[in-house]
């Protein structure tokens, strides 16, 4: 028995018979005005934090019904952290055989083998080489927004910055943002449908395979050109027989999709937090090093990834609730990150708090591969917003539009309209 398993309290069959299952989410007495938390739910996906708070207090292991199977949601910090540290009990291989070469769908040893292919490109040392380019692009996208008095922080800034950065890393042309974004979103939807019973778009499978065909052609070119990029490296692994064609193009797609969408939302949320705490513009303008504190607290407070899919390999007890072997589980890192038992006054954004141990970029063997890149893009953005802006406010006429449906894992703005005023020293 593993130490991790012991800590998660495996169920002793000799002492207990089959345990009663807890009530379903829709059978619980949710507060007035709060609909029961559901597996597929456009409303709570946009802004889930009130539900998370209630779940942490009242149903830290919540069972929800879906047409396919029950899904168990875990929301307290200690429980999510323990589960993320125990991949042999909380397996990531929720679909077997694994349909797509997306790292989040694999356990060891395949996870180790495939992650090793791309890991060297995402170390802090490797990512630091991109800092000048990220900074240059950040200026390029932000300056016209300031000149125009504002705009959409997602479409005008976050998407172009995250997409140009990940494209440069992979050496995939980003000249056609619209097409790349469409393919990326469709592929994410297809993945969400396979991994999390998301509804899909009706066209996601076809679009995904178009994207893969495009990436195959791109890798052929990168191999011919002996590109030193991540894309070139994956292409060589394929041509040398260390990866299959399927693995190579899907891994390339994974890096693109994972590197683009999650960071886009985190960048947009940086704008949002500045609008809520405008005094931070002054503070970071005067102390640019505090941008690092801002970004860690942002990842804790408004991290992008909400639902990490797992399947239990044995019966396990969490927060006094017995989860059976073979159960589909969603770990909720963004709920855990606001758990006041870990972070006092957890629902408040406070850049002076100790954020150690936050789960905003995951935890354990599946920690975010691209975290150094996401941190770099967000720190550069936070520094730049503070340096250039005297004021950043939300546009009252255009409320935040949230990401909805499809991939079912990310929460945050799909459009965030802001008004910007230049800082005049």
């Amino acid at each position: 028995m593993s130490a991790a398993t012991t800590e998660l309290t495996p169920v002793d069959e000799s002492l207990s018979g089959p345990a009663a299952l807890p009530p379903y989410s829709h059978e619980l007495a949710w507060p007035d005005g709060m609909a029961p938390f559901k597996v597929v739910d456009d409303g709570t996906q946009g802004d889930p934090y009130a539900h998370y708070a209630w779940m942490r207090d009242n149903a830290p292991v919540l069972r929800a019904a879906s047409p396919v199977s029950d899904v168990w949601f875990i929301s307290r910090y200690d429980d999510v952290r323990k589960a993320m540290r125990a991949p042999k009990v909380f397996s990531s291989q929720v679909v077997d055989p694994v349909p797509l070469t997306f790292l989040t769908l694999f356990d060891a040893p395949n996870h180790t083998r495939l992650r090793q292919v791309v890991a060297q490109a995402f170390t802090p040392k490797a990512i630091a080489r991109f800092e000048d380019r990220v900074r240059e692009n950040a200026h390029k996208y932000l300056d016209p927004m300031i000149a125009a008095g504002g705009g959409d922080a997602v479409d005008d800034y976050a998407i172009p910055l995250s997409m140009s950065t990940i494209s440069a890393l992979l050496d995939v042309p980003a000249s056609d943002f619209e097409k790349m974004k469409f393919w990326s979103d469709e592929t994410f939807s297809y993945f969400g449908r396979l991994a999390r019973n998301a509804q899909g778009t009706g066209t996601d499978e076809q679009s995904t395979f178009e994207f893969f065909a495009y990436l195959k052609d791109t890798m052929e070119r990168l191999y011919r050109e002996e590109s030193e990029s991540v894309g070139g490296h994956i292409a060589r692994m394929w041509k040398e027989g260390l990866l299959s064609e399927k693995e190579a193009k899907e891994l390339c797609a994974f890096v693109f999709v994972a590197g683009h969408d999650t960071t886009t939302i985190l960048l947009a949320n940086a704008f949002r937090v500045f609008s809520e705490q405008p005094e931070l513009l002054d503070r970071i303008r005067q102390n640019p090093a505090d941008a690092n504190l801002f970004v860690e607290e942002l990842a804790r407070f408004r991290g992008t990834v909400q639902r990490a899919s797992r399947i239990t390999t044995e019966d396990v007890e969490v927060a006094g609730v017995r989860i059976p072997a073979g159960a589909i589980v969603r770990l909720l890192p963004a709920a855990a990150n606001r758990d006041s038992a870990k972070y006092p006054d957890g629902e408040t954004f406070n850049i002076d708090r100790n954020t150690d141990g936050h789960l905003g970029f995951g935890h354990g063997v599946h920690s975010c591969l691209g975290a150094p890149l996401a941190r770099l893009e967000t720190v550069v953005t936070v520094e730049l917003l503070a340096a250039k802006l005297g004021s950043l406010t939300l546009n009252n006429d255009k409320p935040i539009e949230y990401v909805r449906g499809n991939n079912l894992t990310n929460s945050g703005p799909e459009h965030l309209y802001v008004e910007l005023e230049k800082f005049n020293a």
């Binding site: 060891a108 180790t112 890991a119 060297q120 170390t123 935890h363 354990g364 920690s367």
Partner: protein, 107 residues
């Protein structure tokens, strides 16, 4: 502060001589010198993909492993009670100049 010298035995038994810089953990020294240390969690003692073996006489000089580190190590491939460490948890120290480190098997 000057660099440490470090000898690494990889999983195929080959030996590598490296420089270990003062601002690096042992994991970073291994990873940044292109040795196959995955370090999946980035250095937060939450996975065991930077597991290494130290010689017992070196191991015995180090502070005890934290509960988090030990929890992961005892379940890791090839765990040695008096040799296994997560290399991300070992900060630079001049006392470690000249040590030999063996990469543990991958899971």
């Amino acid at each position: 502060m000057s660099n440490n010298k470090l000898t690494v035995i990889d999983r195929e038994g080959s030996t590598h001589d490296l420089q270990w810089e003062p601002d690096q953990t042992l994991m970073e020294a291994l990873r940044d010198n292109d040795l196959p240390v995955l370090a999946s969690c980035g250095g937060t003692a939450s996975c065991a993909t930077c597991h290494v073996f130290l010689e017992k006489e070196v191991f015995d000089t180090l502070a005890e492993r934290s509960e988090d580190e030990l929890e992961l190590l005892v379940d890791a491939e090839g765990y040695q009670e008096c040799g296994s460490r997560l290399s991300c948890q070992l900060a630079f120290s001049q006392d470690l100049n000249g040590v030999t480190v063996t990469l543990a098997p991958e899971e």
